[in-house]
């Protein structure tokens, strides 16, 4: 994984041959090198400093060594999608990229950095980022672009499995697409034309993986055990058990126990919805296990028979939690759901662009891995758009690294030469100039 770029290059017009592509997410950093035409596979690094109940601290990739996830606490340098705490972020970057024993050793003075950020950042945070990159780390060349737009630098028609002739040229960046990025901190909708984001139409929904994990923890604390101090375990549970309901009313009906004294058939059998989640006991089992609901087992547990495992039966928690993405008003959040968010974004664009955008919706980010996410989004959108519109929702093979893959392709594209800023230029023109250049973006070719 150790990239090239160790050879020192004279400071000058020649751009560095190695690019460090960094998708600095709130939960994980996706990092990898692009050297010439070769792209290394990205490495997923937890972007946190964690402390377990024995007061042992793990920084970034050391977290793999952690076994006991009970009562673990995290410190995250990224808040709401933006790098806020540089003290922690520098420590993590140092350990992963710049220290002598770093797993992805990199020499900044001979490397270009392509860094992703979330759209609509605060100018102060952007300025901090630029200053740190050049003044502290000293990268030779640098581009900071909004994450969603990098997704255009890949073959998006392959995601939709569009039938086409083999000789079709692949548009990179993609001509028209609508990107939905649902990550740890929030969910954004970004329409893209030729890889350029249409800034006036970018919209953000403040529901992300973190909020859903916290919501699940709250539900479980009311109904089962207090899980509010177990973010890691609850998150694992969310990833294993949650699914997006295609018929919320029906599923909710199936999980209802009935009124006093009544126990409905569906409730007792589980109706295919109820699942048993075996909690980790931190001695023999460090990760939870999801099982089909066995009424006998949970009944025994209720009667106080000694059982060796803690079982939690998940019923409507399984789909009520991801439902927040589509109906944030369920927790009295005054924001539109995801489908309405897309419609709000489209409403400020000319209607002539709608067919193109709606037929090329790509969803990325960890939340899109929740079962049925794409189907639900497609169904809800079809209800909202005119009949004549085609709605296609595609999810890349790996939605978590999709932005990184796009950014890696971008690092090989000629656009990077037009956008990147060298250290020399930064020193000559200052941080304000760099910020303006990045904000202006590519402009229009013709």
């Amino acid at each position: 994984m150790v990239g090239g770029g160790r050879q020192s290059q004279p400071a000058g017009p020649a751009p560095p041959s190695t690019t460090l592509v960094l998708d600095n997410g709130a939960n994980t950093i996706k990092a990898g090198f692009v050297t010439g035409s070769r792209t290394d596979a990205p490495r997923l690094i937890p972007n946190c400093i964690a402390r377990d109940r024995h007061r042992k601290t793990y920084v970034a990739s050391e977290f793999e060594k952690c076994r006991d996830f009970g009562e673990i606490a995290f410190r995250r340098p990224v808040e709401k999608g933006f790098i806020v705490n540089w003290e922690a972020q520098k420590e993590i970057w140092d350990r992963e990229f710049f220290d002598d024993k770093a797993p992805q050793k990199c020499d900044p003075s001979a490397t270009r950095l392509v860094l992703t950020e979330q759209p609509n950042s605060l100018p102060a945070l952007q300025a901090h980022c630029d200053q740190m990159v050049f003044e502290e780390f000293g990268f030779a060349s640098y581009y900071r672009g909004i994450g969603p737009s990098f997704n255009a630098y890949q073959d998006i028609q392959a995601i939709f499995q569009t039938p086409r002739e083999p000789d079709t040229t692949i548009d990179i960046p993609a001509e028209v697409m609508l990107l939905v990025d649902s990550g740890y901190s929030h969910t954004t909708v970004t329409p893209l034309l030729q890889g350029r984001p249409l800034h006036t139409a970018i919209r953000r929904l403040q529901v992300g993986g973190k909020l859903m994990t916290n919501y699940l923890a709250r539900l479980l604390s009311v109904r089962h055990f207090d899980m509010r101090n177990e973010p890691y375990i609850v998150n694992e549970m969310k990833e294993a058990a949650c699914y997006v309901s295609l018929d919320f009313n029906r599923d909710l009906e199936k999980t209802w126990k009935g009124t006093r004294g009544e126990r409905r058939e569906d409730y007792l059998t589980g109706a295919g919805i109820a699942k048993d989640y075996v909690l980790p006991d931190s001695h023999t089992r460090f990760h939870g296990i999801l099982r089909d609901h066995e009424p006998a087992v949970s009944a025994r547990a209720r009667k106080g028979v000694v059982v060796t495992e803690d079982i939690m039966t998940l019923r409507n928690e399984r789909f009520a939690v991801p439902e927040l993405l589509f109906r944030p008003s369920d927790i009295d959040m005054h924001q539109p759901g995801l489908a309405d968010l897309i419609m709000q974004s489209l409403s400020v664009l000319p209607i002539g662009l709608w067919p193109g955008l709606l037929a090329n919706i790509v969803v990325v980010g960890g939340n899109t891995l929740i079962e049925n996410f794409s189907q639900r989004l497609q169904t809800e959108l079809l209800e909202r758009v005119p009949d004549a519109c085609v709605v296609r929702v595609g999810r890349p093979e790996n939605p978590i690294t999709s932005t990184w893959m796009g950014a890696a392709n971008f690092a090989k594209h000629e656009h990077v030469e037009r956008l990147a800023v060298t250290k020399q230029e930064y020193e000559e023109n200052g941080a304000g100039w760099v910020a303006r250049k990045f904000a202006a973006g590519l402009g229009v070719d013709s």
Partner: protein, 371 residues
């Protein structure tokens, strides 16, 4: 009635006299006419007025949302583990300032808002915030949805210019009107020549205009030119577009493409027209029932304005409830089991689904509010 000039004013303050009270009947909220426990009645007011409920609930909801939005349930302070062996390097002043900053995102956001508020009054601060643009209000309504199906819907208005640029936009509009007159004269000569002249005029105007005005003007330009093009497009026979549109939607390579190059401005360079031959004709292509309306495609200038627009501010990009979302009925859930919240607890107003959950809720409610 002689009331000696004393006018009774309905006050917000309501004294809770023990024994009886006037209680407004404002809705489904439970009313307790007689507090069971008269001690400290004002403090333990079981049934606040309706306005109090909303304020109180607002606070509760806000607190709950904030709790859900937090990274950790309680404040954790995890210090960075000390480095082994490596001597502390020297930082530049900027870097030291950034590293030592303990600001959270909320602090940064507050700073930004303060700067933003300052920019409205102070032009020098506005220069520092040149990236800010007012957020266009969402215009998506059911009415708009139906309007979209009409054969030649007008394009939605571009983002309204911010208040500070109203003078400039007025000037730009005047200039654009003059240009329009000129263009009209030219259009009589030849349509193609006119389009060239338009582009030229637009280019000239852009060059001539001051940098600050360029944007507002380009927007006005785009609007004008777009209107002209709309007229031209309406001239095209509608049969052409309908003939090329196909009911086989799945076979579309790009959604724009099957509609054929005819429906798009041939000089569109930002999004070039579909070059390949359209899919094979289908016998029911001309079926009136199957024909889909093709919306007018935006012109290059319109697209250019969209693609070069500056980013919105953090708060402007946050989606808010539009009119459409307000119409959805609020869904309420049982606080205990998560089923529909069909019953409200008489004491605290929280929702439960049925008697079973109500019993369970009461146990908790009693400990909190007393019998």
């Amino acid at each position: 009635m002689n009331n000696f000039g004393v006018i009774e004013v309905a006050g917000a303050k309501r004294t809770n006299a023990p024994g009886w009270a006037y209680v407004p009947d404002t809705g489904p909220a439970p009313t307790v006419l007689q507090p069971a426990n008269r001690k400290r009645a004002a403090r333990n007011q079981a049934k606040p007025t309706s306005s109090d409920i909303s304020a109180r609930q607002d606070t509760k909801i806000r607190k709950e949302l904030e709790a859900l939005d937090r990274d950790a349930p309680k404040d954790v302070n995890i210090p960075i583990p000390p480095k082994t062996g490596k001597a502390q390097t020297k930082y530049t002043p900027n870097v030291r300032k950034i590293l030592q900053s303990q600001k959270t995102f909320t602090n940064h956001l507050d700073d930004y808002q303060a700067l933003f508020a300052l920019a409205e009054t102070n032009p020098t601060a506005a220069a520092a915030l040149n990236l800010i643009q007012s957020k266009p209000t969402p215009t998506h309504t059911p009415a708009a949805t139906t309007a979209r199906n009409s054969p030649a819907p007008p394009p939605p208005p571009p983002a309204p210019a911010s208040n500070t640029t109203s003078k400039r936009s007025a000037a730009a509009a005047k200039r654009a009107a003059a240009r329009e007159a000129k263009e009209a004269a030219e259009a009589e000569a030849a349509a193609a020549a006119a389009r060239e002249a338009e582009a030229q005029a637009a280019a000239e105007a852009e060059e001539a205009a001051a940098e600050a005005e360029a944007e507002a003007e380009a927007e006005a330009n785009a609007k004008k030119i777009d209107n002209d093009d709309d007229v031209e497009m309406a001239d095209a026979p509608p049969d052409q577009t309908s003939a090329t549109s196909t009911p086989e939607r799945d076979s579309k390579e790009k959604s724009i493409s099957p509609k054929g190059p005819q429906s798009y401005p041939p000089d569109g360079t930002i999004l070039p027209a579909y070059q390949k031959p359209p899919p094979a004709a289908h016998p029911s292509d001309n079926d009136v029932l199957l024909v889909s309306p093709v919306p007018p495609f935006p012109t290059d200038d319109e697209l250019r304005a969209l693609m070069t627009a500056p980013p919105l501010s953090y708060l402007a990009a946050r989606a808010e409830w539009g009119d459409a979302e307000r119409q959805y009925p609020a869904r309420t859930f049982c606080d205990v089991c998560g089923y529909w919240g069909r019953v409200r607890c008489m004491k605290c107003g929280s929702r439960v689904c049925a008697l079973d959950c109500l019993d369970m809720h009461r146990q908790e409610c009693v400990t909190r509010y007393g019998l």
